[in-house]
Assembly symmetry: C2
Homo-oligomer: 578 residues x 2
């Protein structure tokens, strides 16, 4: 491969490799080339723009010496894939498992994930969703501060490790989705600005400079991200992408970057003949995100649905701080189940404005349903998991709501046995000042909620990372085993019933009692009955339960009679008409 | 009327009127009221927030003492309207005439416009479009620096003057459209920030603070603009609005402000039973603006189409500076005629990026066609009109292209007789520093294009304004008369032929020769043939012209034979199959 780089406003660009520095020649559309230089797999190289320092390639496929080191060329053609016949299961019928490669296994690597695929399979997982694996500064991090967007993080096992994981997952019948961050770049090792106008002053992003998706030279910037998406799908055989915080992607173009991104994924789908998925994280409550392009949508397959999470979480925990203040009643849970968004144009006290737009006409399978995610666990001061806040019995109800919801269920690593490990915020910036400011920022943020700064773990401290590692083997405790069995039976139950995975809610009906704290959801022949209260409740619903059979119960004490249903305190039951 | 004002973050608000200052009480959603105070028509009043200075009402309906003075309450119910039976003609079948109230007539007022309605009627004008009439600092200005968005400019005749003009126009069968600016407020007399978070730091507008359409408290800010639109339509009987620079309206909400604005106009339409129009000025080349809401559009009736203007203007003048650099060939004119946008996703050298999205499937009647506007004349260093740049013969061709185009034709005051008055940029800020900086800014801007700063008229100088006044009576020169006759015959020709106003291009066909500089457009039985060159040309088109009759010619020398058509230098002919 001949080195090439996009630097549309540069006057000169040099490439250094094998101890030689070579002037590059300007080609078309801002690209520079060095036809006389050939890179072989494993060769180190770097670029210098206008006589500046030698810097890694913005599209570097490997950074073995970290974000500040030289790039290494990887010949993607060399990997021996064994997944020619692979096709992923439709997203709507699946179970997504979100994991962080560095903390999921003791190995902290792609290999560590690959070694546990059978376990995930036994749980019914159909789609793995990896938190960002792009290169970021240091060894440890969540990955959202990525700067080497084309290079799988070296500490996780680099390009080879990721390919092996994807190939192995496909072998086991599991699809791999990748979380990618296209709304900003990390604070350390971000050299993109040396090469071109990757950033814009027109908009203010919450995490630093907004990406230039619509200003001068934005075609090249857009191509940088579109080609990145294409690379993961083509060169790494990844089945889909989760696009981080689409609300921080600002673009006034007639063809919005997000629509173009979806179009790119569809193109790869057609070219390769393999199904692909694209999922958005969106805080906009805008149906446009998951609407089809025919009606002016961006055409995402699905989006994360925080409204459902927040409604359930506040009900279970009683928490009302920050955005949780907009939720808290059973009516919110019911509304999410029935209409996708709770905020669909109504006033949000937290946002101090009306929020969202009705999306009830959209299939619920365009929304992910979950009660734990890296954000909802990790963005807590002490990274506690739900079970440790509200207790395991309520967690079981939450899990039942997720698995029996009309949404695509997603669980977060360790949730299934209510792992004792927290999921904390951790970083490993080599820039000391940055490290300190990250820590201070975090402590200040939580001090505002009344926390003692000393109680907030230091993100830069390695133990913060190590504490976040999952406490395998999970069979250690009886409680862990019991929770795992509950998740497995829910997963199995869902999997065995097409009516729970049909992506529609025509035959769905929700009833609830705000005072007695019960909620009943019926979908076709299946009935989910939840008692969120600390008392036994007797539920009278509008139809007969006499011909229903008790299929699952989170704890003993469920009683089904001809006309009513008795639920034990903090108990949930799943019934089916026979 | 009891005074009320929106000040959502204020701790106290006082109203002063009739020499008394009264504490207001907080009502709902950030509104303050003074139920004990009653304002009668003509009463002066002002507000003080948190003990600050007394300031005009953001929704003041009259500012007789200027932008810094007290507000005056106007009882809109007092005006005697005589237009109950009025219905405007559909926009698509009309002729729009853009005018600036201060310079259109020697009176420089609404009354001066009203006195010339018969003249406009004789020209075939169906829709008057008034440049902004909202209150702005000083006496003279274009109006885009408005700060009293609810108060018709006092120097134009205030609320009473505008109502009389609208009523008189309706009497003559002419609709009135109003240019409104919702993307920023003017630099002098803008006290909105004292009352609430009207502005946002999330986006950077080209003209100062961006309006807060999607941040905290944005419901109230949106209401300010939506109610303003409603007021013009309801209280002033205005038939429609032209929304200035929609590309500078930043809004990430699921329901975009522009869609909500269109929805508001439609609501008034339904409530009042009178047709209303809403037109966008858009630099986005985004079909979403004029697409229907069913397909994700904002639903505007039409938008200004700069691509058609720029294509024609560059061809006629040879100018290639700035955004004109993207145009210049007959192919561009043909493309605009055939596909609405010239830039529909293709690369723009001026913007240094791809621009726009195809809109060819949209009816051409959703686009305004024009060759002169306040912007295209007034944003030139010396405000020259087209005829003074390229000569009157070429202007005649341009006019024929506009009137025979499939677009809704619009002309700019004085264009129809190629007035000798320029249309210059003028202001009248009382803040001296601001005045100086406006002048300096303007001179610097044009200095970049090689102008001697001394040659750029000082916007603050009253003579700059006076020179921009139309040189009535237009009958003064034979040239003026001839041009006027040409415009009138074009207008009449269009008006008499439904096929030219059917809003579609199914039976349209364009041919051109880039080398010989001719273009022929055929629509149903009508043929427009233009010779942009300085030589006589013989045009051979793909069909017979033998059965066609010469209907209009800009100058003698048109020859129609069975198979071809001879056009004199810089000449245009309109033929019709009989």
């Amino acid at each position: 491969m001949h080195p090439s780089v996009w630097a549309p406003e540069a006057s000169s660009v040099k490439v250094v490799t094998g101890g030689c520095s070579v002037e590059m020649t300007k080609s078309r559309r801002g690209w520079w080339e060095a036809p006389g230089v050939t890179l072989e797999d494993g060769d180190e190289y770097a670029f210098s723009v206008d006589g500046g320092p030698f810097l890694p390639d913005p599209r570097s496929s490997r950074q073995p010496k970290g974000v500040h080191g030289p790039s290494v060329f990887v010949d993607h053609g060399k990997f021996n894939w064994t997944d020619e016949k692979w096709q992923p299961q439709p997203l709507a019928s699946g179970l997504i498992y979100e994991l962080h490669t560095g903390t999921f296994s003791p190995e902290g690597s792609f290999g560590g994930v690959a070694a546990r695929l059978d376990y995930l399979k036994s749980l019914g997982v159909t789609h793995l969703e990896l938190m960002p694996v792009n290169g970021f500064s240091g060894e440890r991090g969540w990955g959202y501060d990525g700067v080497n967007l084309y290079a799988p993080h070296e500490a996780y096992g680099g390009p080879e490790g990721l390919k092996k994981l994807v190939d192995a997952a496909h072998e086991k019948g599991i699809a791999v989705l990748l979380d990618v961050v296209y709304n900003h770049l990390g604070p350390e090792g971000n050299y993109l600005g040396f090469f071109g106008p990757y950033f814009s002053k027109k908009y203010v992003s919450p995490w630093g400079d907004a990406v230039n998706f619509d200003g001068p030279f934005s075609d090249g910037v857009r191509a940088f991200f579109l080609d990145n998406a294409r690379m993961w799908l083509e060169d790494y055989h990844v089945d889909g992408l989760r696009i981080d915080a689409v609300h921080a992607i600002f673009d006034q173009s007639a063809l919005h970057f997000l629509e173009e991104l979806v179009r790119t994924v569809r193109q790869v789908e057609m070219e390769t003949g393999k199904h692909r998925f694209i999922i958005a994280e969106s805080d906009l409550n805008d149906p446009r995100v998951v609407s089809t392009t025919e009606v002016g949508g961006y055409g995402f397959d699905a989006q994360w649905s925080d409204d459902f999470h927040h409604a359930l979480h506040t009900l279970l925990t009683g928490e009302r701080g920050g955005y949780y203040g907009d939720f808290g009643s059973l009516a919110h849970v019911a509304k999410a189940l029935e209409r996708n968004f709770v905020y669909e144009g109504n006033y949000s006290s937290f946002r101090k404005r009306s929020h969202g737009r009705p999306a009830w006409a959209l299939p619920p399978s365009r929304f992910l349903g979950y009660i734990q995610t890296h954000d909802q666990v990790g963005n807590r001061a002490r990274g506690e998991r739900l079970g440790h806040i509200c207790g395991r019995e309520l967690q079981k109800i939450a899990a039942a709501c997720v698995f029996l919801s009309p949404f695509v269920p997603m669980i977060f690593q360790g949730e299934e046995w209510s792992s004792d490990s927290p999921f904390l915020y951790f970083t490993d910036h080599s820039d000391e000042k940055l490290g300190e400011s990250v820590c201070e920022g975090r402590r200040r943020e939580f001090a505002a909620f009344g926390w003692n700064p000393e109680e907030i773990p230091d993100p830069q401290d390695e133990t913060t990372f190590l504490r976040s590692r999952l406490d395998w083997p999970l069979e250690d405790t009886a409680e862990g085993k019991e929770m795992l069995e509950w998740y497995k039976s829910l997963s199995r139950f869902r999997n065995e019933r097409p009516c729970l995975r049909d992506g529609c809610r025509e035959n769905m009906h929700v009833e609830f009692d705000e005072k007695d704290l019960w909620l009943v959801m019926q979908k076709n022949d299946v009935l989910l009955a939840c008692n969120f209260s600390k008392k036994e409740v007797s539920v009278e619903i509008g139809y007969e339960t006499g011909d229903m059979e008790l299929k699952l119960q989170s704890r003993p004490g469920v009683l089904v009679t001809k006309k009513s249903l008795t639920l034990p305190p903090e108990g949930v039951a799943v019934l089916e008409r026979v």
